[in-house]
Amino acid sequence: MMETKNEKLILFLKNTLIYSAIIVGGYFLYNYNNKDYHNLPHTDFSFVYAQF
């Protein structure tokens, strides 16, 4: 299926956003200097893990 120029641009922007979020967000949340009380992904409120 051929994608239009517009669709390609949207996909490119979406991917850029995702990868930027991973790098910037990942550094901000999980870097060694972040002394947040819980410097690990946590599941306290996660519905997903209510099943365990």
Partner: protein
Amino acid sequence: MLPFTDIDFFLFALLYVVTVWLFGLITHKKHYPAITFALTLIYFIFYFRYTMAALGFALVTFLYIRFLSQKVNHRLVSAIIIAIPMVLLKVHLNPSFLYFAGLSFITFRAIQVSIDYSKDDRLNFMHYFNFLFFIPSFYIGPLDRYKRFTENSVNGYQSIGTATTLSGLQEFIKGVTYKFIVAELISRYWLQHSLEEGLAAGARTSDIYAYAFYLFFDFAGYSSMAVGMANLVGISLPFNFNKPFIAINPPDFWQRWHASLTSWLGDYFFKPFYKWLNGFQKLKKNPIAKQNLAIFFTLFIMGIWNGFESNFIWSGIIYGIYSVIHNTYVIQCRKKDKDVIFGNLNPKMVKYISIVLMFHLICIALYVFSGRYQ
């Protein structure tokens, strides 16, 4: 080992994908179901805490579906029998030997097989086991269908290619971003961590929206990782989330939010229940009431399958009320041949108003579901 959370699980997932690929090369793309079956057994032996209960459940339900379910007159009875361990768990009466992580979703899958099973089908234990315990979607879905999954699984190696691998990776990375970045940011910096009584109205309102977004990014992230990992090994799982916050009405929302469970409930609860209601003379004369009853109880189940705690019961009631009101509105519009609420308002405007209204209603319903109001 929590799926798609603990590092151990990600390492196992990597091992799983690489092993499936390697065996594809060694066996010249044959024996896909046997290879995934063996890998799941390895997972059960080395990583799973509830191996015996899970294997026991698979074996007993397989034997029941294969040899006994045809003798039980009503398929609903079969479904109830299979659901017994799950119901016991929900009322906190489950003996530990019957419990295993992921029991609810495994039960949904087993019920689906038991309802769809007919004497002409040759139910194979390996395929059944693979369907119940397919590692990426084992714990929380998305919920697939036995026939589709098995056909896909038999031709698993034929489905692995550059395109599926790339789309799988893309979906997986999207899931990681949703769960480990966006949901985590919301959880750390937006959600209220102490919900003491007398929380200011502003903080409470903010918490309502925070929870809706948190739940979406956490659950959709989990589902995307599951779909992505499945794609990497050649299995196409159904999607679970599709921009639910731009839904324009309750049915639209349920097509976008936990869609695989909605579709499961539609096929295995709504339709048989609606048919069953046909047996009541009074309801035969009032099809609208019959429709609304079936809709209400389907959405009620959507809430209470999580448990019999008051927040789940109330959330089920709220989901049901939303949908019944919407259904009545649609019927009235059709009867009077005009929009009974918005009149002649511009359809685009109606759409935007509906999205805003629905968004707020969803946030309130999800907050009730969370139990954070207590």
